[in-house]
Protein backbone atom coordinates (compact mmCIF):
# COMPACT_ATOMS: atom_id res chain seq x y z
CA UNK A 1 0.00 0.00 0.00
CA UNK A 2 2.86 2.37 0.88
CA UNK A 3 4.42 2.05 -2.59
CA UNK A 4 1.07 2.62 -4.31
CA UNK A 5 0.55 5.78 -2.27
CA UNK A 6 4.01 7.10 -3.13
CA UNK A 7 3.19 6.78 -6.83
CA UNK A 8 0.12 8.95 -6.32
CA UNK A 9 1.75 11.47 -3.96
CA UNK A 10 4.39 12.51 -6.50
CA UNK A 11 1.62 13.66 -8.83
CA UNK A 12 0.48 16.18 -6.25
CA UNK A 13 3.61 17.65 -4.68
CA UNK A 14 7.13 18.17 -5.83
CA UNK A 15 9.09 15.55 -3.90
CA UNK A 16 11.24 12.69 -5.06
CA UNK A 17 9.94 9.21 -4.41
CA UNK A 18 13.00 8.31 -2.34
CA UNK A 19 12.33 11.26 -0.04
CA UNK A 20 8.90 9.98 0.95
CA UNK A 21 9.19 7.99 4.17
CA UNK A 22 6.48 6.21 6.14
CA UNK A 23 6.81 8.84 8.86
CA UNK A 24 6.65 11.79 6.41
CA UNK A 25 3.83 14.13 7.35
CA UNK A 26 1.66 15.28 4.43
CA UNK A 27 1.39 18.94 5.31
CA UNK A 28 4.57 19.70 7.25
CA UNK A 29 7.07 17.53 5.37
CA UNK A 30 5.60 16.98 1.92
CA UNK A 31 4.02 20.40 1.43
CA UNK A 32 0.41 19.37 0.90
CA UNK A 33 -2.38 21.87 1.47
CA UNK A 34 -5.52 20.50 3.08
CA UNK A 35 -7.32 20.71 -0.26
CA UNK A 36 -4.49 18.97 -2.18
CA UNK A 37 -4.62 16.24 0.39
CA UNK A 38 -8.38 15.79 0.08
CA UNK A 39 -8.15 15.78 -3.73
CA UNK A 40 -5.47 13.12 -3.61
CA UNK A 41 -7.60 10.90 -1.39
CA UNK A 42 -10.44 11.33 -3.88
CA UNK A 43 -8.17 9.91 -6.56
CA UNK A 44 -7.15 7.07 -4.25
CA UNK A 45 -10.84 6.21 -3.79
CA UNK A 46 -11.08 5.53 -7.52
CA UNK A 47 -7.79 3.69 -7.83
CA UNK A 48 -8.53 1.36 -4.93
CA UNK A 49 -12.33 1.34 -5.24
CA UNK A 50 -12.90 2.25 -1.59
CA UNK A 51 -14.95 4.92 0.15
CA UNK A 52 -13.01 7.23 2.44
CA UNK A 53 -14.61 8.92 5.42
CA UNK A 54 -13.86 12.65 5.31
CA UNK A 55 -13.66 13.01 9.07
CA UNK A 56 -11.27 10.10 9.42
CA UNK A 57 -9.23 11.49 6.55
CA UNK A 58 -8.83 14.76 8.43
CA UNK A 59 -7.02 12.94 11.21
CA UNK A 60 -4.42 11.34 8.98
CA UNK A 61 -1.02 12.98 9.40
CA UNK A 62 1.64 10.65 8.00
CA UNK A 63 2.00 8.52 4.91
CA UNK A 64 2.07 5.41 7.09
CA UNK A 65 -1.21 6.36 8.77
CA UNK A 66 -2.80 6.84 5.35
CA UNK A 67 -1.43 3.50 4.14
CA UNK A 68 -2.77 1.72 7.25
CA UNK A 69 -6.21 3.29 6.90
CA UNK A 70 -6.42 2.41 3.22
CA UNK A 71 -5.25 -1.13 3.84
CA UNK A 72 -8.00 -1.50 6.43
CA UNK A 73 -10.61 -0.17 3.99
CA UNK A 74 -9.65 -2.40 1.10
CA UNK A 75 -9.65 -5.52 3.21
Amino acid sequence: MFEELVEIIVNYVEVRKEDIKPESRFMEDLGFTSFDFMSMLGEVEDTLDVEIDQEKAANIRTVQEAADYLAELSR
Binding site: F35, E45, Q54
Partner: protein, 517 residues
Protein backbone atom coordinates in the same frame (compact mmCIF):
# COMPACT_ATOMS: atom_id res chain seq x y z
CA UNK B 1 -33.07 38.21 -14.48
CA UNK B 2 -32.67 39.81 -11.10
CA UNK B 3 -35.18 41.47 -8.81
CA UNK B 4 -34.67 42.71 -5.29
CA UNK B 5 -36.24 40.48 -2.61
CA UNK B 6 -36.57 41.60 0.97
CA UNK B 7 -37.41 38.39 2.78
CA UNK B 8 -36.06 34.89 2.26
CA UNK B 9 -39.62 33.60 2.11
CA UNK B 10 -40.41 35.98 -0.72
CA UNK B 11 -37.19 34.99 -2.48
CA UNK B 12 -38.20 31.33 -2.58
CA UNK B 13 -41.85 32.05 -3.34
CA UNK B 14 -41.02 34.20 -6.37
CA UNK B 15 -38.41 31.72 -7.57
CA UNK B 16 -41.01 28.96 -7.40
CA UNK B 17 -43.52 31.05 -9.35
CA UNK B 18 -40.94 31.59 -12.07
CA UNK B 19 -39.15 28.23 -12.18
CA UNK B 20 -41.57 25.76 -10.49
CA UNK B 21 -41.01 22.50 -12.40
CA UNK B 22 -37.30 23.08 -13.05
CA UNK B 23 -34.57 21.42 -10.98
CA UNK B 24 -33.52 23.48 -7.97
CA UNK B 25 -31.22 20.99 -6.21
CA UNK B 26 -29.31 17.99 -7.56
CA UNK B 27 -27.43 15.56 -5.34
CA UNK B 28 -25.77 12.17 -5.37
CA UNK B 29 -27.35 9.03 -3.93
CA UNK B 30 -25.97 5.53 -3.53
CA UNK B 31 -28.23 2.68 -4.47
CA UNK B 32 -27.92 -1.00 -5.27
CA UNK B 33 -27.32 -1.55 -8.97
CA UNK B 34 -28.32 -4.54 -11.09
CA UNK B 35 -25.29 -6.63 -10.19
CA UNK B 36 -25.74 -5.93 -6.48
CA UNK B 37 -22.87 -3.42 -6.47
CA UNK B 38 -23.65 0.01 -5.10
CA UNK B 39 -23.98 2.61 -7.80
CA UNK B 40 -23.96 6.37 -7.75
CA UNK B 41 -26.98 8.13 -9.20
CA UNK B 42 -28.09 11.76 -9.36
CA UNK B 43 -31.46 12.76 -7.92
CA UNK B 44 -33.13 16.13 -8.23
CA UNK B 45 -35.78 18.22 -6.49
CA UNK B 46 -37.67 20.99 -8.24
CA UNK B 47 -38.40 24.53 -7.09
CA UNK B 48 -41.99 23.49 -6.35
CA UNK B 49 -40.86 20.52 -4.26
CA UNK B 50 -38.46 22.67 -2.27
CA UNK B 51 -41.11 25.28 -1.61
CA UNK B 52 -43.70 22.69 -0.57
CA UNK B 53 -41.34 20.59 1.55
CA UNK B 54 -39.92 23.60 3.36
CA UNK B 55 -43.41 25.06 3.80
CA UNK B 56 -44.54 21.80 5.38
CA UNK B 57 -41.56 21.76 7.71
CA UNK B 58 -42.44 25.31 8.74
CA UNK B 59 -45.95 24.06 9.50
CA UNK B 60 -44.52 21.19 11.53
CA UNK B 61 -42.46 23.63 13.59
CA UNK B 62 -45.61 25.62 14.23
CA UNK B 63 -47.38 22.46 15.40
CA UNK B 64 -44.47 21.74 17.76
CA UNK B 65 -44.83 25.24 19.20
CA UNK B 66 -41.51 26.31 17.74
CA UNK B 67 -42.60 29.31 15.72
CA UNK B 68 -40.38 32.28 16.47
CA UNK B 69 -37.87 30.10 18.29
CA UNK B 70 -34.20 29.48 17.49
CA UNK B 71 -33.66 26.27 15.53
CA UNK B 72 -30.16 24.98 14.82
CA UNK B 73 -29.20 23.06 11.67
CA UNK B 74 -26.15 20.85 11.89
CA UNK B 75 -24.66 18.71 9.14
CA UNK B 76 -23.19 18.66 5.68
CA UNK B 77 -24.94 20.31 2.74
CA UNK B 78 -27.97 18.23 1.72
CA UNK B 79 -31.48 18.64 0.37
CA UNK B 80 -32.74 18.09 3.93
CA UNK B 81 -30.46 20.83 5.27
CA UNK B 82 -31.69 23.33 2.69
CA UNK B 83 -35.33 22.33 3.22
CA UNK B 84 -34.93 22.74 6.97
CA UNK B 85 -33.35 26.17 6.55
CA UNK B 86 -36.14 27.54 4.34
CA UNK B 87 -38.76 25.91 6.56
CA UNK B 88 -37.34 27.58 9.65
CA UNK B 89 -36.90 31.09 8.30
CA UNK B 90 -40.05 30.96 6.13
CA UNK B 91 -42.23 30.34 9.17
CA UNK B 92 -40.89 33.16 11.29
CA UNK B 93 -38.31 31.23 13.27
CA UNK B 94 -34.59 31.90 13.46
CA UNK B 95 -32.14 29.45 11.88
CA UNK B 96 -28.80 28.84 13.58
CA UNK B 97 -26.49 27.06 11.11
CA UNK B 98 -23.60 25.42 12.94
CA UNK B 99 -20.14 24.28 11.84
CA UNK B 100 -20.28 20.49 11.66
CA UNK B 101 -16.50 20.30 12.13
CA UNK B 102 -16.52 21.69 15.64
CA UNK B 103 -16.15 19.29 18.55
CA UNK B 104 -19.38 18.27 20.32
CA UNK B 105 -18.54 20.21 23.44
CA UNK B 106 -18.15 23.49 21.58
CA UNK B 107 -21.36 22.85 19.64
CA UNK B 108 -23.28 22.33 22.88
CA UNK B 109 -21.91 25.60 24.18
CA UNK B 110 -23.10 27.39 21.01
CA UNK B 111 -26.54 25.74 21.17
CA UNK B 112 -26.90 26.96 24.69
CA UNK B 113 -25.58 30.45 24.03
CA UNK B 114 -27.87 30.91 21.01
CA UNK B 115 -30.93 29.78 23.06
CA UNK B 116 -31.67 26.98 20.62
CA UNK B 117 -34.84 25.01 21.36
CA UNK B 118 -34.76 22.54 18.47
CA UNK B 119 -31.85 20.92 16.66
CA UNK B 120 -32.04 19.47 13.15
CA UNK B 121 -29.03 17.17 12.60
CA UNK B 122 -27.72 14.62 10.13
CA UNK B 123 -26.54 11.18 11.17
CA UNK B 124 -22.85 12.12 11.26
CA UNK B 125 -23.70 14.47 14.14
CA UNK B 126 -25.85 12.05 16.14
CA UNK B 127 -23.27 11.95 18.93
CA UNK B 128 -23.50 15.73 19.28
CA UNK B 129 -27.30 15.56 19.37
CA UNK B 130 -27.15 12.93 22.10
CA UNK B 131 -24.84 15.10 24.15
CA UNK B 132 -26.90 18.21 23.53
CA UNK B 133 -29.98 16.43 24.89
CA UNK B 134 -28.18 15.94 28.18
CA UNK B 135 -26.28 19.21 28.37
CA UNK B 136 -28.59 21.84 26.87
CA UNK B 137 -31.63 22.35 29.12
CA UNK B 138 -33.35 24.73 26.68
CA UNK B 139 -33.30 22.15 23.88
CA UNK B 140 -36.81 20.69 23.53
CA UNK B 141 -36.57 18.77 20.24
CA UNK B 142 -33.98 16.85 18.28
CA UNK B 143 -34.96 16.25 14.67
CA UNK B 144 -33.00 13.69 12.64
CA UNK B 145 -32.61 14.11 8.89
CA UNK B 146 -32.36 10.33 8.39
CA UNK B 147 -34.87 7.69 9.44
CA UNK B 148 -34.23 5.42 12.43
CA UNK B 149 -31.96 7.66 14.48
CA UNK B 150 -31.09 6.17 17.86
CA UNK B 151 -30.82 9.56 19.55
CA UNK B 152 -33.32 9.32 22.42
CA UNK B 153 -36.61 11.03 21.59
CA UNK B 154 -35.46 12.16 18.15
CA UNK B 155 -38.18 12.99 15.63
CA UNK B 156 -37.75 12.15 11.95
CA UNK B 157 -37.55 15.24 9.73
CA UNK B 158 -39.27 13.77 6.65
CA UNK B 159 -42.07 12.25 8.68
CA UNK B 160 -42.81 15.69 10.14
CA UNK B 161 -42.78 17.16 6.63
CA UNK B 162 -45.11 14.49 5.29
CA UNK B 163 -47.60 14.67 8.16
CA UNK B 164 -47.73 18.44 8.04
CA UNK B 165 -48.28 18.22 4.27
CA UNK B 166 -51.31 15.97 4.74
CA UNK B 167 -53.11 18.23 7.17
CA UNK B 168 -51.74 21.58 5.98
CA UNK B 169 -55.09 22.95 4.95
CA UNK B 170 -56.63 22.58 8.39
CA UNK B 171 -53.82 24.14 10.38
CA UNK B 172 -53.45 27.67 11.64
CA UNK B 173 -52.04 30.28 9.39
CA UNK B 174 -48.27 30.69 9.52
CA UNK B 175 -47.07 34.21 10.20
CA UNK B 176 -44.95 35.30 7.29
CA UNK B 177 -41.71 37.04 8.19
CA UNK B 178 -41.19 40.75 7.61
CA UNK B 179 -37.94 42.21 6.21
CA UNK B 180 -36.83 43.47 9.62
CA UNK B 181 -37.37 40.12 11.38
CA UNK B 182 -34.35 38.16 12.53
CA UNK B 183 -33.73 35.23 10.16
CA UNK B 184 -30.38 33.72 11.07
CA UNK B 185 -27.71 33.72 13.73
CA UNK B 186 -24.33 32.76 12.30
CA UNK B 187 -21.29 32.17 14.46
CA UNK B 188 -18.00 33.69 13.48
CA UNK B 189 -14.63 33.64 15.20
CA UNK B 190 -13.72 36.87 16.85
CA UNK B 191 -10.52 38.34 18.15
CA UNK B 192 -11.67 37.88 21.71
CA UNK B 193 -11.34 34.14 21.26
CA UNK B 194 -15.03 33.54 21.86
CA UNK B 195 -17.08 33.10 18.70
CA UNK B 196 -19.81 35.68 18.15
CA UNK B 197 -23.37 35.10 16.91
CA UNK B 198 -24.00 37.48 14.03
CA UNK B 199 -27.69 38.44 13.87
CA UNK B 200 -28.95 38.76 10.30
CA UNK B 201 -32.48 39.74 9.31
CA UNK B 202 -34.44 38.62 6.27
CA UNK B 203 -33.62 41.89 4.59
CA UNK B 204 -29.91 41.55 5.38
CA UNK B 205 -29.68 38.17 3.68
CA UNK B 206 -32.29 38.45 0.93
CA UNK B 207 -31.08 41.84 -0.31
CA UNK B 208 -27.45 40.78 -0.18
CA UNK B 209 -28.30 37.85 -2.43
CA UNK B 210 -30.46 39.80 -4.87
CA UNK B 211 -29.17 43.40 -4.95
CA UNK B 212 -26.61 42.82 -7.68
CA UNK B 213 -27.37 41.39 -11.11
CA UNK B 214 -24.41 39.11 -11.76
CA UNK B 215 -25.80 38.15 -15.15
CA UNK B 216 -26.69 34.53 -14.30
CA UNK B 217 -29.11 32.87 -16.70
CA UNK B 218 -31.94 30.67 -15.35
CA UNK B 219 -30.79 27.06 -15.53
CA UNK B 220 -27.15 27.96 -14.77
CA UNK B 221 -25.63 24.91 -13.11
CA UNK B 222 -23.75 25.72 -9.87
CA UNK B 223 -21.82 23.20 -7.83
CA UNK B 224 -21.75 24.04 -4.14
CA UNK B 225 -18.47 22.95 -2.54
CA UNK B 226 -18.11 25.24 0.49
CA UNK B 227 -19.54 24.44 3.93
CA UNK B 228 -23.13 25.61 4.02
CA UNK B 229 -22.93 27.15 7.50
CA UNK B 230 -20.65 29.82 6.00
CA UNK B 231 -22.44 33.02 5.04
CA UNK B 232 -20.64 33.09 1.67
CA UNK B 233 -21.99 29.67 0.68
CA UNK B 234 -25.47 30.16 2.12
CA UNK B 235 -25.95 33.56 0.52
CA UNK B 236 -24.13 33.27 -2.79
CA UNK B 237 -24.67 29.59 -3.66
CA UNK B 238 -28.06 28.89 -2.15
CA UNK B 239 -29.99 32.16 -1.85
CA UNK B 240 -28.57 33.85 -4.94
CA UNK B 241 -28.63 30.61 -6.93
CA UNK B 242 -32.30 30.00 -6.21
CA UNK B 243 -33.28 33.62 -6.81
CA UNK B 244 -32.01 33.43 -10.40
CA UNK B 245 -33.37 29.97 -11.23
CA UNK B 246 -30.05 28.14 -11.04
CA UNK B 247 -29.61 24.40 -10.50
CA UNK B 248 -27.58 23.86 -7.32
CA UNK B 249 -25.55 20.64 -7.32
CA UNK B 250 -24.33 19.41 -3.97
CA UNK B 251 -20.71 18.30 -3.75
CA UNK B 252 -20.80 15.50 -1.17
CA UNK B 253 -17.19 15.66 -0.05
CA UNK B 254 -14.06 17.73 -0.54
CA UNK B 255 -12.42 14.46 -1.54
CA UNK B 256 -14.55 14.30 -4.64
CA UNK B 257 -14.58 17.78 -6.13
CA UNK B 258 -12.84 16.67 -9.34
CA UNK B 259 -15.10 13.65 -9.73
CA UNK B 260 -18.25 15.61 -9.01
CA UNK B 261 -17.34 18.26 -11.58
CA UNK B 262 -17.44 15.48 -14.17
CA UNK B 263 -20.71 14.15 -12.78
CA UNK B 264 -22.67 17.41 -12.48
CA UNK B 265 -21.00 19.39 -15.30
CA UNK B 266 -21.36 22.78 -13.58
CA UNK B 267 -21.08 26.14 -15.33
CA UNK B 268 -19.67 27.81 -12.26
CA UNK B 269 -18.36 27.17 -8.75
CA UNK B 270 -17.90 29.39 -5.72
CA UNK B 271 -14.49 28.72 -4.17
CA UNK B 272 -12.00 29.86 -1.59
CA UNK B 273 -8.50 30.77 -2.81
CA UNK B 274 -6.96 27.53 -1.57
CA UNK B 275 -9.08 25.54 -4.02
CA UNK B 276 -8.25 27.91 -6.85
CA UNK B 277 -4.54 27.38 -6.13
CA UNK B 278 -4.85 23.59 -6.14
CA UNK B 279 -6.72 23.60 -9.44
CA UNK B 280 -4.18 26.04 -10.87
CA UNK B 281 -1.39 23.59 -10.03
CA UNK B 282 -3.25 20.90 -11.93
CA UNK B 283 -3.54 23.13 -14.97
CA UNK B 284 0.11 24.19 -14.79
CA UNK B 285 1.45 20.67 -14.36
CA UNK B 286 -0.19 19.57 -17.57
CA UNK B 287 0.91 22.61 -19.57
CA UNK B 288 1.98 20.46 -22.54
CA UNK B 289 -1.66 19.62 -23.27
CA UNK B 290 -3.43 22.31 -25.36
CA UNK B 291 -5.48 24.64 -23.13
CA UNK B 292 -8.98 23.89 -24.52
CA UNK B 293 -8.47 20.11 -24.21
CA UNK B 294 -7.09 20.36 -20.69
CA UNK B 295 -9.88 22.69 -19.63
CA UNK B 296 -12.49 20.29 -21.01
CA UNK B 297 -10.82 17.41 -19.18
CA UNK B 298 -10.60 19.10 -15.75
CA UNK B 299 -13.71 21.31 -15.75
CA UNK B 300 -15.79 20.20 -18.73
CA UNK B 301 -16.42 22.20 -21.88
CA UNK B 302 -19.38 24.10 -20.37
CA UNK B 303 -17.53 25.52 -17.32
CA UNK B 304 -16.92 29.27 -17.42
CA UNK B 305 -16.76 31.02 -14.04
CA UNK B 306 -15.21 30.77 -10.57
CA UNK B 307 -16.27 33.18 -7.84
CA UNK B 308 -13.57 33.52 -5.23
CA UNK B 309 -14.00 34.95 -1.78
CA UNK B 310 -13.23 34.36 1.86
CA UNK B 311 -9.54 35.23 1.68
CA UNK B 312 -6.91 36.92 -0.47
CA UNK B 313 -6.36 35.54 -3.96
CA UNK B 314 -3.15 36.22 -5.83
CA UNK B 315 -4.21 38.06 -9.04
CA UNK B 316 -1.76 35.90 -11.07
CA UNK B 317 -4.35 33.11 -10.89
CA UNK B 318 -6.92 35.28 -12.60
CA UNK B 319 -4.63 35.53 -15.65
CA UNK B 320 -3.79 31.85 -15.58
CA UNK B 321 -7.44 30.81 -15.63
CA UNK B 322 -8.24 33.33 -18.31
CA UNK B 323 -5.92 31.40 -20.65
CA UNK B 324 -8.28 28.46 -20.17
CA UNK B 325 -11.35 30.50 -20.86
CA UNK B 326 -12.38 30.64 -17.19
CA UNK B 327 -13.28 33.93 -15.52
CA UNK B 328 -12.42 34.36 -11.85
CA UNK B 329 -14.56 36.94 -10.08
CA UNK B 330 -12.95 38.05 -6.84
CA UNK B 331 -15.22 39.37 -4.11
CA UNK B 332 -14.99 40.54 -0.53
CA UNK B 333 -17.24 40.30 2.46
CA UNK B 334 -17.76 39.24 6.04
CA UNK B 335 -20.53 37.45 7.91
CA UNK B 336 -21.44 40.76 9.58
CA UNK B 337 -22.52 42.07 6.15
CA UNK B 338 -24.54 38.99 5.14
CA UNK B 339 -21.76 38.65 3.70
CA UNK B 340 -20.86 40.34 0.37
CA UNK B 341 -19.52 43.91 0.58
CA UNK B 342 -18.05 44.20 -2.90
CA UNK B 343 -17.44 41.96 -5.86
CA UNK B 344 -16.12 41.98 -9.37
CA UNK B 345 -18.69 40.94 -11.92
CA UNK B 346 -18.65 40.41 -15.65
CA UNK B 347 -19.78 43.93 -16.46
CA UNK B 348 -17.33 45.58 -14.04
CA UNK B 349 -14.08 44.03 -12.95
CA UNK B 350 -10.56 45.21 -12.25
CA UNK B 351 -7.64 42.86 -11.56
CA UNK B 352 -6.21 43.13 -8.07
CA UNK B 353 -9.33 44.81 -6.74
CA UNK B 354 -12.17 43.25 -4.82
CA UNK B 355 -14.71 44.95 -7.08
CA UNK B 356 -17.19 47.73 -6.59
CA UNK B 357 -19.36 47.89 -3.46
CA UNK B 358 -22.75 46.14 -3.72
CA UNK B 359 -25.63 48.42 -4.83
CA UNK B 360 -27.16 48.09 -1.35
CA UNK B 361 -23.91 49.03 0.44
CA UNK B 362 -22.18 52.34 1.01
CA UNK B 363 -18.45 52.22 1.70
CA UNK B 364 -16.25 54.87 3.27
CA UNK B 365 -12.63 54.78 4.34
CA UNK B 366 -11.96 56.03 7.86
CA UNK B 367 -8.28 56.25 8.77
CA UNK B 368 -7.56 53.60 6.13
CA UNK B 369 -10.19 51.25 7.59
CA UNK B 370 -13.13 50.12 5.42
CA UNK B 371 -16.54 51.04 6.89
CA UNK B 372 -19.79 49.75 5.40
CA UNK B 373 -23.40 50.87 5.73
CA UNK B 374 -26.52 49.51 4.07
CA UNK B 375 -29.32 46.99 4.12
CA UNK B 376 -26.99 44.01 4.60
CA UNK B 377 -25.27 45.20 7.77
CA UNK B 378 -26.06 42.96 10.75
CA UNK B 379 -28.20 43.90 13.73
CA UNK B 380 -25.37 43.09 16.11
CA UNK B 381 -23.85 40.14 17.93
CA UNK B 382 -26.34 38.02 19.84
CA UNK B 383 -26.22 38.90 23.54
CA UNK B 384 -22.91 40.72 23.17
CA UNK B 385 -23.68 44.44 23.52
CA UNK B 386 -20.06 45.46 24.08
CA UNK B 387 -18.75 43.71 21.00
CA UNK B 388 -21.69 45.08 19.00
CA UNK B 389 -20.91 48.64 20.11
CA UNK B 390 -17.30 48.12 19.05
CA UNK B 391 -18.27 46.89 15.58
CA UNK B 392 -21.11 49.30 14.74
CA UNK B 393 -21.09 53.10 14.83
CA UNK B 394 -24.14 55.05 13.62
CA UNK B 395 -25.11 52.14 11.40
CA UNK B 396 -21.59 51.85 9.96
CA UNK B 397 -19.90 48.47 10.24
CA UNK B 398 -16.19 48.78 10.98
CA UNK B 399 -14.70 45.90 9.04
CA UNK B 400 -11.25 45.94 10.60
CA UNK B 401 -9.83 45.66 7.09
CA UNK B 402 -7.61 48.30 5.59
CA UNK B 403 -8.05 49.47 2.01
CA UNK B 404 -8.78 52.23 -0.47
CA UNK B 405 -11.17 53.08 -3.32
CA UNK B 406 -9.78 54.12 -6.72
CA UNK B 407 -11.23 56.89 -8.88
CA UNK B 408 -13.56 54.45 -10.65
CA UNK B 409 -15.06 53.16 -7.43
CA UNK B 410 -13.18 49.84 -7.19
CA UNK B 411 -12.23 48.74 -3.73
CA UNK B 412 -8.71 47.47 -2.89
CA UNK B 413 -7.60 45.68 0.28
CA UNK B 414 -4.23 46.47 1.82
CA UNK B 415 -4.22 44.58 5.09
CA UNK B 416 -6.03 43.64 8.25
CA UNK B 417 -6.42 45.75 11.27
CA UNK B 418 -7.15 42.90 13.57
CA UNK B 419 -4.92 40.01 14.43
CA UNK B 420 -7.45 37.55 13.12
CA UNK B 421 -5.76 35.04 10.88
CA UNK B 422 -7.59 34.30 7.65
CA UNK B 423 -6.27 30.98 6.41
CA UNK B 424 -6.00 30.30 2.72
CA UNK B 425 -9.26 28.39 2.73
CA UNK B 426 -11.08 31.36 4.17
CA UNK B 427 -11.51 30.06 7.70
CA UNK B 428 -11.07 32.64 10.42
CA UNK B 429 -8.74 31.63 13.18
CA UNK B 430 -8.42 33.69 16.27
CA UNK B 431 -4.83 33.27 17.49
CA UNK B 432 -5.86 34.24 21.01
CA UNK B 433 -8.26 31.34 21.18
CA UNK B 434 -5.50 28.81 20.47
CA UNK B 435 -3.01 30.64 22.66
CA UNK B 436 -5.44 30.46 25.55
CA UNK B 437 -5.77 26.71 25.10
CA UNK B 438 -2.03 26.09 24.87
CA UNK B 439 -1.13 28.33 27.79
CA UNK B 440 -3.23 26.16 30.07
CA UNK B 441 -0.28 23.73 29.98
CA UNK B 442 2.21 24.28 32.77
CA UNK B 443 5.18 23.83 30.47
CA UNK B 444 4.01 26.75 28.35
CA UNK B 445 4.96 30.06 29.94
CA UNK B 446 4.13 32.29 26.97
CA UNK B 447 2.84 31.58 23.52
CA UNK B 448 2.02 33.40 20.30
CA UNK B 449 0.19 31.84 17.37
CA UNK B 450 0.66 33.28 13.90
CA UNK B 451 0.32 32.49 10.24
CA UNK B 452 3.72 31.69 8.72
CA UNK B 453 3.80 30.96 5.01
CA UNK B 454 0.23 29.78 5.05
CA UNK B 455 0.41 27.46 8.06
CA UNK B 456 -0.28 28.17 11.70
CA UNK B 457 2.83 28.33 13.83
CA UNK B 458 3.15 28.53 17.59
CA UNK B 459 6.09 30.27 19.16
CA UNK B 460 6.48 29.16 22.75
CA UNK B 461 8.63 30.34 25.63
CA UNK B 462 8.71 27.32 27.91
CA UNK B 463 8.59 27.39 31.69
CA UNK B 464 12.14 26.13 32.23
CA UNK B 465 11.82 25.94 36.00
CA UNK B 466 8.86 23.64 35.65
CA UNK B 467 10.77 21.57 33.07
CA UNK B 468 13.70 21.17 35.47
CA UNK B 469 11.44 20.25 38.34
CA UNK B 470 9.68 17.61 36.28
CA UNK B 471 13.00 16.47 34.79
CA UNK B 472 11.89 17.08 31.25
CA UNK B 473 15.13 16.75 29.28
CA UNK B 474 13.89 17.33 25.77
CA UNK B 475 11.71 20.40 26.12
CA UNK B 476 11.00 20.91 22.37
CA UNK B 477 9.81 17.30 22.10
CA UNK B 478 7.57 17.74 25.13
CA UNK B 479 6.11 20.92 23.62
CA UNK B 480 5.55 19.16 20.31
CA UNK B 481 3.66 16.49 22.20
CA UNK B 482 1.40 19.12 23.76
CA UNK B 483 0.75 20.56 20.32
CA UNK B 484 -0.04 17.11 18.94
CA UNK B 485 -2.55 16.66 21.75
CA UNK B 486 -4.13 20.01 21.01
CA UNK B 487 -4.28 19.22 17.28
CA UNK B 488 -6.15 15.98 17.87
CA UNK B 489 -9.14 17.81 19.29
CA UNK B 490 -9.02 20.75 16.89
CA UNK B 491 -10.65 21.16 13.49
CA UNK B 492 -8.19 20.92 10.60
CA UNK B 493 -8.00 24.64 10.01
CA UNK B 494 -7.13 25.40 13.61
CA UNK B 495 -4.23 22.97 13.82
CA UNK B 496 -0.67 24.05 14.48
CA UNK B 497 1.86 22.83 11.95
CA UNK B 498 4.95 24.72 13.07
CA UNK B 499 6.71 25.12 16.42
CA UNK B 500 9.36 27.62 17.39
CA UNK B 501 10.86 27.43 20.85
CA UNK B 502 12.13 30.67 22.38
CA UNK B 503 15.03 30.96 24.77
CA UNK B 504 14.03 34.36 26.10
CA UNK B 505 10.64 35.68 26.97
CA UNK B 506 8.61 37.80 24.53
CA UNK B 507 8.90 41.54 24.37
CA UNK B 508 5.97 43.19 26.14
CA UNK B 509 4.20 46.48 25.78
CA UNK B 510 3.33 48.78 28.65
CA UNK B 511 0.24 46.85 29.62
CA UNK B 512 2.36 43.68 29.85
CA UNK B 513 0.77 42.23 26.77
CA UNK B 514 3.01 40.42 24.36
CA UNK B 515 3.87 42.51 21.33
CA UNK B 516 2.36 40.66 18.47
CA UNK B 517 4.38 42.19 15.64
Amino acid sequence: MNELRSTIYELLEKAEEAYGPRDAIRYKVKRAGENGKRETAVEARTYTQLKNDSGNFGQALLDLGQQGKHIAVLGATSYSWITAYFGIVGSGSVAVPLDANLPAEELCELLDRADVTALVFDETKAETARRAREQCPKLAYCIAMEEGSDVPGALFFWKLVEEAGRKAAASQEILRPRPEDLATIMFTSGTTGKSKGVMLTHQNLAENATALDMGYEPGTVLMSVLPIHHAYCLSMDILKGLSVGAVICINDSLLRVAKNIKLFEPDMILMVPLMVETLAKKLEDASLIPAPILKAKVFGRQFHTICSGGAYLNPAYIDLFKRFGITILQGYGMTECAPVISTNCKSASRPGSIGRPMPNCQVQIVEEEIWVKGSSVMQGYYKMPEETAEALEDGWLKTGDLGYIDQDGFLFLTGRKKNLIITKNGENVSPEEIENKLSKERLVAEVLVRDTDGVLEAEIFPDLEYAAKKRIKDVPAALQKLIDQYNEGAPLYKRIYGLKVREVEFEKNTTRKIKRF
